[in-house]
């Protein structure tokens, strides 16, 4: 843990904070207990209490704050909207750092409808950009994740998150960053640093070393603006869902779909979820029917799946194009799955309308409820494919929360505020059925050993790899369960690392585990960090195993 700020004399810290308040205005710097407590809330149950929270309005203020931090040897920790659920939320890696909350910087600086891109600040949320485009009738969609409407694009991109659409490999759809360095200088990547540059946000590489990647999953600078590419609306979207009736059959399905992902027939990011992942999106843990602290009994799990019509695995993805293109893709998917146990269903807008009508006609019968749930899910998926984020996919975070989903969910859902317990491990694996089963089995063994149900999603994050999301949902009001959840997470993190299925992302609690020791990669990163931030004031410990 960085001890930078711990070593600061209180008087020096006070001086620095006063200088920072003078930059942003007193209203935008807080160090009262209520604020500090709010920022320290973490789904990961590893709260780090900051020294203060400061909320700049623009890059120039950020630069001034960094200069003050630098001259006082004070660590600052930037966050966009602080919704890094399960990986640290709004917490710094180390305690006592000054949180630079960039959420006030939420300008949509420009949108070019012809060339289909936007320039945005870190505070811009999924809902905000989506609404902005819709209200102006622009035929563009932004990629969405299931992390909820109020999450930041920049924050997610800096963590190299992925979404659902053909633009789901988000970092590949970014061009031109503006970054405040520890020196206080403003770095523009790509062509942006040239006067009059006409393609600052159209061609990411620029000329000379391509630096963007260096600022993702790192603590090398503070991104204050970036160009994000938007997807032109297409004539036709079909969502496709595919139930896999037996656990082991998913392997053949992955192998059958891989060629379609490889050859570009499937351009969006397919998600393959296990039964609990789907169940947890439509309900909460049946606490009353299960002994305290226990996981879901197999019989009850089976009954719940049966009642909801949920198979052991569900494949979910979308096809985009003209009517003819989507029809061609649909035929290719059907052909590919012919020899497998899976049968795809293609959800169209028409089907959704008919389904909704039928569900209403069936009233409150079992089949009516099941149909209604499916229609609601279909509508959310459809909306998300077309750039309208939904909070409903956050439901999984509430699975073991006492009291279940809050009133009005998903509006305003905030797992950290709502005291949800959530941790996850995200191994990357070759896009092969055998690897999926191997990682699933490894994870299930670890989860069961620690008494947890395994929520598993494997997403086709690119044409050759699956990104796993293996979630521990736990009851944060139960201290024993919380400790078990952490032990489960840590053991799985270590096990996938050893097995060569390295996580694509790490929570604040895992940074130290990233360097097995004596690793040239991490030594190189440390050298670059020392060159760009010699005093180590920017987010010490963030993707910096040696300092965390």
């Amino acid at each position: 843990m960085s001890k930078l700020n711990d070593l600061l004399q209180p008087a020096r810290a006070g001086e620095a904070l006063a200088a920072m308040a003078a930059v942003v205005g007193a209203a935008w710097l807080a160090s009262d207990d209520a604020t500090l407590e709010r920022y320290a809330r973490s789904t990961a149950a590893r709260p780090t209490v900051p020294l203060a929270v400061v909320r700049p309005d623009n890059a120039d203020e950020v630069a001034q704050l960094v200069a003050i931090a630098s001259s006082h040897g004070l660590a600052v920790y930037p966050l966009s909207t602080g919704k890094n659920w399960g990986n640290g939320d709004a917490c710094a890696v180390g305690a006592g750092q000054v949180i630079l909350d960039l959420s006030r910087m939420n300008r949509i600086v420009l949108v070019d409808p012809e060339l289909a891109y936007a320039v945005i600040e870190p505070g811009v949320t999924q809902a905000q950009l989506s609404t902005w485009l819709r209200e102006r009738g622009l035929p563009l969609w932004a990629d969405c994740t299931g992390a909820g409407p109020d999450t930041s694009y920049v924050g997610n991109i800096m963590e190299r998150g992925f979404g659902h659409s053909p633009y789901g490999n988000r970092l590949q759809h970014v061009a031109g960053m503006e970054i405040v360095l520890a020196s206080g200088e403003l770095l523009k990547t790509g062509f942006g640093h040239y006067r009059n540059a006409r393609t600052a946000h159209l061609f990411p590489y620029g000329v000379g070393p391509f630096l963007d990647g260096l600022f993702t999953q790192s603590n090398m600078g503070i991104v204050t603006r970036l160009g994000i590419w938007l997807m032109p609306q297409v004539e036709c979207v079909n969502h496709f869902l595919c139930s896999v009736p037996r656990h082991g059959d998913i392997a053949a399905v992955v192998d059958a779909l891989r060629p379609l992902r490889l050859d570009g027939t499937l351009r969006s990011i397919l998600h393959i979820g296990n039964d609990l992942r789907v169940l947890s999106g439509g309900g909460v843990f049946p606490r009353a029917e299960v002994p305290a602290g226990a996981r879901l009994p197999e019989a009850l799990r089976g009954a719940m799946c049966k009642a909801a019509g949920v198979a052991p695995w569900t494949v979910s993805g979308a096809l985009y194009g003209t009517g003819a293109q989507v029809a061609a893709a649909r035929a290719a998917v059907r052909r590919a799955l012919r020899g497998t146990a899976a049968r795809p269903t293609f959800v169209t807008e028409r089907k959704l309308r008919i389904g909704a009508m039928l569900a209403r006609a069936c009233g409150d019968s079992g089949i009516g409820r099941q149909l209604r749930a499916k229609v609601a899910l279909g509508e959310s998926l459809f909306a998300m494919n077309r750039g309208t984020p939904s909070g409903r996919f956050l439901a999984g975070a509430y699975w073991r929360r006492r009291g279940g989903l809050p009133q009005g969910f998903p509006a305003g859902a905030d797992p950290a505020r709502d005291n949800c317990g959530l941790l996850w491990v995200s191994p990357v694996l070759p896009m092969r059925g055998a690897d999926l089963l191997a990682v699933h089995d490894l994870a299930q063994t670890v989860f069961w050993k620690h008494g947890f149900d395994l929520f598993a999603t494997f997403s086709m994050v690119n044409e050759r790899a699956l990104g796993g999301v293996l979630t521990v949902a736990y009851d944060k009001d139960d201290l024993e369960e919380t400790a078990r959840a952490r032990a489960c997470h840590d053991e799985l993190f270590q096990r996938v690392l050893e097995a060569g299925y390295i996580p694509y992302r790490a929570g604040n609690h895992s940074m130290a585990q990233l360097d097995p020791g004596g690793d040239t990669y991490w030594r190189t990163v440390a050298r670059i960090k020392a060159a760009l931030d010699p005093a180590g004031i920017l987010a010490p410990g963030r993707y910096e195993p040696g300092a965390s």
Copy 2:
């Protein structure tokens, strides 16, 4: 210009070379005049004579050579196969450096047919990989450029070159590099530095800062191996060609095709070439009919175009997929172009066969020759779309060469050896017709001022930008013309820079122009360079404006 090696005492240099020879074996180090002269040949007429050429066999030897260079303060300049035509060829930026020629390191380390990738060394050429795949009957294609069969993938990727196929944005299809650093350490990027990593070449980002971009267009390290993704063969490829009958009409064509590139209907890289670009691919400058040193008279240019059936602009690209997918794309292209002056022709294998038959039937008539030339072009394009490189697209480099194309062309074509004069400027512009015309006009003004014909290609390098390639072909046997060519190039480079159409790549002769001065980007690059290569021994001056 780096003076590193100039300052070396001859005795120290001799000592270093002796130590290097001991590493690679005496046969693989040369400093005789013939060798030095061969490496100093440059299409860009800016030869830099090296101190010696050393040819290591593997990364371990590279590391040892770097250690020797480091301890002696000797600059080394790595190259893959040294075919960076028009941008420096096999020359270092500065004279007196030791060329590290990596062409012996030409192992295809592995090919995974299921996950469609290869791991290759710098010496692997386009022809080598293509042949390897074909001979083993693997249903995979590697992206090709028109730079010829003997060019290196790694070399081109490090320069961020682009090809033609859906994998033509080459850097996006690379995962996992191995890099010898100035410290002699071997850095593995992505997940490759973790023991047992299963996705070292399947997921480029890894975890932590994503470093790959830092090593492209830079002098931060020596890439000795990388993972390159291969394209699965598809059922159907159609090449599409589109003649644009009047110069100004190209603008509307670009604007009509942009939405198809944006929405993924056109997944490969379209190339838009002017008449001279197409003419120069099928013949040489009619030297006998033109006054010495003059450019092509307009009337003659018109007559040549008419004889060859070449329009002011030709759009060329390929559609990939199943039969149904290609048919859907074809319909979309036809629909998009309906309101423009352009009519697309779709070249299929069947049409090529019939065309070849007809051409034979027409014998040596004018129409027969024209048809034969078109069939030959179509066949080369088709082969290239499917991963078989052709040397014929190098013909442009020979345009003004005395003696024209060498015997047996394109076999063994080597513009540097053959004393071709070639320089090019590669501005990136927004994918808009108006920008294409603006850059074309700007370039033509400069070219005509200096007495040169403009060879122009604009390629849809991604979904939003055009990469221009504006070539000065000149007679290197004519000193006055050579000086004019350089002046023309330099003026155009400066003009596009000022106009905000920044080049995506620079030749050895343009490195110093890249930094307008006081630029945070270049200052940041210099800081990173100093951290990774404090003695500045790796390729001083390469994308290092301050040192060149």
